[in-house]
């Protein structure tokens, strides 16, 4: 069974080295077909009934794609229609070397049982192994290996009964390979040829990626872009320091501008500015690129112009736009500027967006406009443009030749009609990379069987706390209750306070499919009308949710405190609790305020509230920040699910009461797990922002004659408290909103990989997340660490591996960021829906930022931000003078400062259905030719309403 064969391989690493590896050939690798009677296989993958309706082949057939077909046409292979495909080991290995994303995708496809993809280990099979011939290139050898394997399959299955009809089809786009295959009697097709022959399924044709042969038509003779340098020269350049490597980030506001984020040694990282189409040189957002710095005299300042690519236009217009960017800027504003010389790694993914149909009716090539403004338009070829108009679609980029203004791509799938709530939600989930498919069977199989009850086994290592008067306080309509509280007097006069957190780690065991899925999702995503759960609903809304009057498993953190809220003793234990009441914030507040109520729950709440106030005071004294961000909540119509009203969230005392104890629990747990596992505790930190972040805040305060000290969190908190302007009550909130934007992102990290643990915003030396395991995966890990620390659960290898933990943290941070963006996008979409139904309003707002050609306005009532542009395509633009220092913008004779009060109308601009925007127009101050007249009639009606 074992036959040894050695081959010699040369590799270059500094010098030439001879590497000798053994290569065993086997005769126990089976073919995986249902037809076969010779192979002693346990299970088969390839079906007998392998028939797709095709006008090239009428009989059942198995497909063998070559490497390039898999690499470029992975979208086709992923289609549920394509089944019974043999992926050769040779192909798989080549893909692995050439493209990690495609490798991941093809592996997923192979694992999908429905797809019937079989991996044949041809290089270790006795009969399909080939030796390299004299003067044969690696590519030729691989092609030959693929042909030999295909040949073997057809011979092998010829002998099988009932398989006379069966054909083995080699898919290759390489002409020479195809010819050679046909010579040796194989059935070989080009991929396009085969897909086009599938008459029953014409939609597949659109998903074909354009390959280099057939993209030559729409090209002007003019080369638009400079050539990219080959990788070898880029690497040499990076080594010698003449090029820099970094991540390309296109600007959201200006399609002709981008920055390249260069990761320097250690802490040092710089940003290089790129301006103009030529310099951007076909880089797409998120690509890893090599840049060359321009000489100092060509450095420019980032323009504050908002510029959007309006579609195909004349060359001279393009130049005009580019000229607009170049403005006289003082020396200090100049940023290192460079140009892209080569692409190190493309980071293309399928993009959501819409088709901008070509003006010519019969055209098959159309431009596609991605929803993400940082992505350029993509040219695709489709015959179903009419059907796709007004639909949200997904498109993948295939390539960007140097003579083409736009990259070429192909259609991937249709998401639904634009503006539709379902579709838009799908788009924003896809665009923010939020995993939102239903949970798979494998995941659901790890759920506890219903009816579930607490067994003897569960009670081991657990304390029975069912007698305690525990209650939960949450927002109204909350079904995933992950925390509950209690407070009672002890005999010695002290207080006992307990925070009880749902014991999710009891149900989600390390390493199983459920755990992996939760780790991947990282967090529950709350959209306006929808929740994308991290764990299946049975857990999130039932078994883990600490609902009232049922026994639930919990992880409790119990303190003994004196009446000054000083902690005397901390205890962690797994427990069983029985919550006595699930209250909303308002209900809890009512109980506290209502002096006539004196039951256990109310007393417990009062005790908690009293302690919380002391805790908060202490925290603020230490320098914790209270920041502000306008948050809105929609009242959603129960029938149509359209937003009917909008209100800013209001905070009650009880909100802060719950928050205070959660913070305390988090800090206590953080300290405990760090003491126990100094190398692998999962913590959360919030770095102090660099002083330059506060520039905008300082400028803003200076404009009102105030000084904000930003040297420490404490100083900032104090000076924010003092910053008040008479007769302008909202000023302080505005400042806090600005301060929030100066902050850094808080992140999870593994304690063994970092030394700075400080949480700036909370002014705590150590912090973690422990209190919401139903909706955050980080908490589950913290639960497991704590359980091990108190001996309530056993450990497992990955928990103690700091590198794996650190990788997990990266994923969690990414998912959290994306979830936040998705939530914001969802709010924005609902705001649009709201104003669509509402029409024009006349509202007070404040100027939040001043830009070169626009002002950004915040409307406190809706927590809404919008831009007022002073330049318009069809109107002559007014005189604009922008002062960068202050900053102020003078339009005609009126000067806008930050925080000026203005009146605007709000409307929905649906001229571009993809980017429906909230459009604001100025009403007050009145600037002739710029501001708009007050719409008649309506404001009076509104006033009348107010009077009543």
């Amino acid at each position: 069974m074992l036959k040894s064969k050695t081959f010699v391989k040369k590799t270059r690493s500094g010098g030439v080295m001879k590497i000798v590896r053994e290569h065993y050939l086997r005769d126990d690798i089976w073919c995986g077909s249902e037809f076969c009677v010779e192979c002693k296989q346990d299970s088969t993958v390839l079906q007998q009934d392998a028939c797709i309706e095709s006008n090239l082949l009428s009989s059942p057939h198995y497909l063998i794609p070559d490497t390039n077909v898999v690499l470029h046409q992975i979208d086709i292979l992923e289609d549920p229609l394509i089944r019974n495909v043999i992926i050769l080991q040779t192909v798989l290995q080549e893909i692995r070397h050439r493209s990690a994303p495609v490798y991941k995708r093809i592996k997923d496809v192979v694992h999908d049982k429905e797809k019937h993809f079989y991996t044949f280990t041809n290089e270790h099979h006795r009969e399909t192994f080939i030796e390299r011939e004299q003067a044969e290139s690696a590519n030729d050898q691989n092609d030959r290996a693929i042909r030999v394997a295909a040949k073997w399959y057809s011979e092998h299955l010829k002998n099988a009964p009932k398989a006379e009809e069966l054909k083995i089809v080699l898919l290759t786009n390489d002409r020479a390979n195809k010819e050679k295959a046909e010579e040796s009697g194989l059935v070989a097709y080009k991929c396009e040829e085969y897909i086009k022959s599938l008459i029953a399924n014409p939609e597949l044709v659109d998903r074909l990626a354009l390959t280099s042969d057939d993209q030559n038509e729409i090209t002007t003779s003019k080369l638009l872009f400079p050539e990219h340098l080959p990788l070898s020269r880029i690497q040499a350049g990076i080594k010698s320091g003449s090029f820099l490597q970094g991540t390309f980030r296109a600007s959201r506001d200006n399609y002709l501008e981008a920055t390249v984020f260069v990761h320097g040694e250690g802490e040092e990282s710089t940003e290089v500015l790129i301006q103009g189409l030529q310099n951007l040189n076909r880089a797409v957002h998120q690509d890893v690129v090599a840049v060359e710095l321009l000489p100092r005299d060509q450095w420019v300042a980032p323009s504050s112009v908002v510029l959007q690519d309006e579609g195909p236009k004349e060359d001279d217009k393009e130049e005009e736009a580019e000229n607009m960017l170049r403005c006289e800027a003082n020396e200090a504003m100049l940023k290192p500027t460079g140009k892209v010389v080569g692409i190190i790694k493309r980071n293309w993914r399928p993009f959501c967006g819409m088709l901008s149909k070509s003006q010519i009716k019969e055209a098959t090539r159309h431009l596609f406009t991605p929803a993400d403004r940082r992505i350029p338009r993509i040219r695709i070829e489709t015959r179903q443009a009419a059907a796709l108009e007004g639909q949200r679609i997904m498109v993948a980029i295939d390539g960007w030749p140097k003579h083409s203004r736009y990259p070429n791509g192909h259609f991937v799938r249709n998401l639904g009609s634009a503006g539709d709530k379902e579709t838009e939600t799908a788009v924003l989930l896809l665009e923010h990379d939020v995993p939102h498919q239903a949970f798979s069977q494998a995941v659901l199989s790890f759920l506890p069987k219903m009816p579930w009850r607490i067994t003897e086994e569960d009670m081991k290592n657990r304390v029975d706390l069912r007698h305690l008067c525990v209650c939960s306080v949450d927002p109204p309509g909350c079904t995933d209750i992950d925390d509950a509280l209690h407070c009672r007097d002890l005999e010695n006069g002290n207080l006992e306070v307990g925070v009880h957190i749902a014991d999710v780690s009891h149900f989600i065991r390390p390493g199983n499919a459920l755990d992996q899925e939760a780790a991947n999702r990282g967090t529950t995503v709350y959209l306006c009308e929808k929740r994308i759960d991290m764990v299946p609903e049975l857990l999130s809304s039932n078994l883990c949710s600490l609902r009232s009057n049922v026994d639930r498993l919990a992880f409790s953190c119990i303190w003994e405190m004196n009446h000054n809220a000083e902690i005397l003793n901390t205890r962690f234990t797994k427990s069983v609790i029985n919550s006595k009441a699930s209250l909303t914030y308002a209900e809890a507040q009512m109980r506290i305020d209502d002096t006539s109520m004196n039951d256990d729950i109310t007393k417990s709440l009062r005790g908690l509230n009293k302690l919380a106030k002391i805790l908060k005071k202490k925290r603020i004294e230490k320098g914790a920040l209270t920041l502000s961000s306008p948050e809105v909540r929609f009242h959603i119509d129960s029938e149509t699910h359209d937003p009917i009203d909008l209100q800013t969230k209001e905070l009650k005392e009880t909100n802060s009461m719950v928050e205070e104890f959660m913070l305390l629990a988090n800090i206590s747990v953080a300290q405990k797990i760090y003491d126990e596992f100094s190398e692998c505790a999962l913590l959360r930190k919030h770095p102090a922002p660099p002083p330059s972040n506060y520039d905008i805040l300082n400028k803003a305060a200076n404009s009102k004659g105030l000084l904000i000290r930003t040297d420490s969190a404490k100083a900032l908190a104090d000076s924010l408290d003092e910053a008040k302007v008479d007769g302008f009550a909202y000023f302080n909130t505005l400042l806090r909103i600005l301060a929030t934007r100066c902050m850094m992102q808080a992140v999870y990290f593994c304690s063994g990989m970092d030394s700075d643990f400080h949480h700036y915003g909370l002014a705590s030396p150590i912090y973690t997340h422990f209190t919401s395991p139903i909706r955050r995966y980080a908490d589950i890990i913290v639960h497991r660490l704590l359980a091990v620390a108190i001996g309530a659960d056993c450990t497992y290898p990955d928990l103690m591996d700091k590198h794996k933990q650190s990788a997990l943290c990266n994923n969690l941070n990414y998912r959290h960021k994306m979830a936040q963006y998705a939530q914001r996008a969802s709010v924005a979409f609902h705001t649009q829906l709201f104003f669509k139904n509402r029409g024009i309003l006349n509202e007070d707002g404040y100027i939040l930022f001043v830009r070169k050609n626009a002002i950004i306005i915040l409307i406190p009532k809706f927590g809404l931000e919008g831009t007022v542009f002073f330049e318009n395509k069809d109107k002559p633009s007014p005189r604009l003078t922008f002062n960068e220092e202050a900053p102020t913008l003078t339009v005609e004779d009126h000067t806008f400062h930050m925080f000026d009060k203005v009146k605007v109308t709000i409307s929905l601009d649906s001229s571009n259905i993809q980017h429906q925007k909230i459009r604001m127009a100025l009403i007050e101050p009145v600037i002739p030719g710029v501001s708009v007249a007050l719409p008649e009639g309506e404001p009076e009606a509104k006033k009348a309403k107010l009077d009543r």
């Binding site: 040894s4 590896r21 192979v110």
Partner: protein, 245 residues
């Protein structure tokens, strides 16, 4: 570029073996006439030569003499041409002294040293070609050489390495697998009694996986002992055929 995939989804290793399969083993005994015992072994591309002298009087300083048993003296070395890069390897560098010490410990556990008080047994091992599992090849070669020399042992000592990749224990690692960054463990076993003569592991491994890994290594050692047993029996047959004439 992506690193090497040590274990494919189909369950094949780089060289086409399944996780529990050994490399091809070939061995010969009595390769030199001058020495008291000698053997040559190939485990895949790892090739080792072992020579045994003794038991004889203690050479060098008399102070080393033990009064109740024999002294085992081991020397390990690697040929200059044994790796892909030619390299002069002076005697007594740290790696080879450590290996010598390990061999010494292994064979002190296996040889019935109390039968030869006040004497010395020398074991010299040389790696001719190295492709992972040097220690195991040395032990296996030396076992055959000791048997060839007619020195009584408790049992064969068989050694084998094992690694841990993607939650699967791999038996008998080749060089690429050893340097691939995973954990590797070397185990020397007296198969009949199941006693472990030496167990060595440098990298980190979670305790939960240790049993699985050791089990894999022990299974591999047992199959190796069958192969070695076959070699010894065949050698005896050849020798007895020759002596009968």
């Amino acid at each position: 570029m992506a690193g090497l995939e040590l274990l494919s989804d189909q369950g094949y290793r780089l060289d086409g073996r399944k996780p529990s399969e050994l490399r091809k083993v070939q061995a010969r005994m009595g390769v030199f006439a001058q020495a008291d015992g000698s053997a040559y072994i190939e485990q895949g591309n790892t090739k080792a030569l072992a020579v045994v002298y003794g038991p004889h009087e203690v050479r060098g300083s008399r102070s080393k003499t033990l009064h109740d048993r024999a002294v085992i003296n081991c020397q390990y070395s690697m040929a200059t041409f044994s790796t892909a890069e030619r390299k002069r390897r002076p005697h007594g560098d740290r790696k080879s002294s450590e290996m010598s010490l390990h061999l010494k410990q292994t064979f002190e556990a296996a040889i019935l040293t109390q039968l030869y008080p006040r004497s010395q047994i020398d074991i010299y091992v040389k790696i001719l070609q190295s492709d992972g599992g040097n220690y195991s090849a040395c032990v296996n070669a030396a076992t055959l050489a000791v048997i060839d020399a007619g020195v009584p042992m408790r049992d064969y000592v068989c050694a084998c390495s094992a690694g841990f990749v993607e939650d699967t224990p791999l038996a008998d690692l080749c060089h690429t697998e050893e340097s691939g960054g995973g954990t590797s463990l070397a185990l020397a076993l007296l198969p009949r009694g199941g006693q472990i003569a030496l167990l060595q592991m440098d990298a980190r491994l979670h305790q939960d996986h240790l049993d699985a890994l050791m089990e894999a290594a022990m299974t591999a050692c047992r199959s190796l002992s069958n192969v070695l047993d076959g070699v010894v029996r065949q050698h005896l047959q050849e020798v007895s055929l020759l002596t009968r004439e």
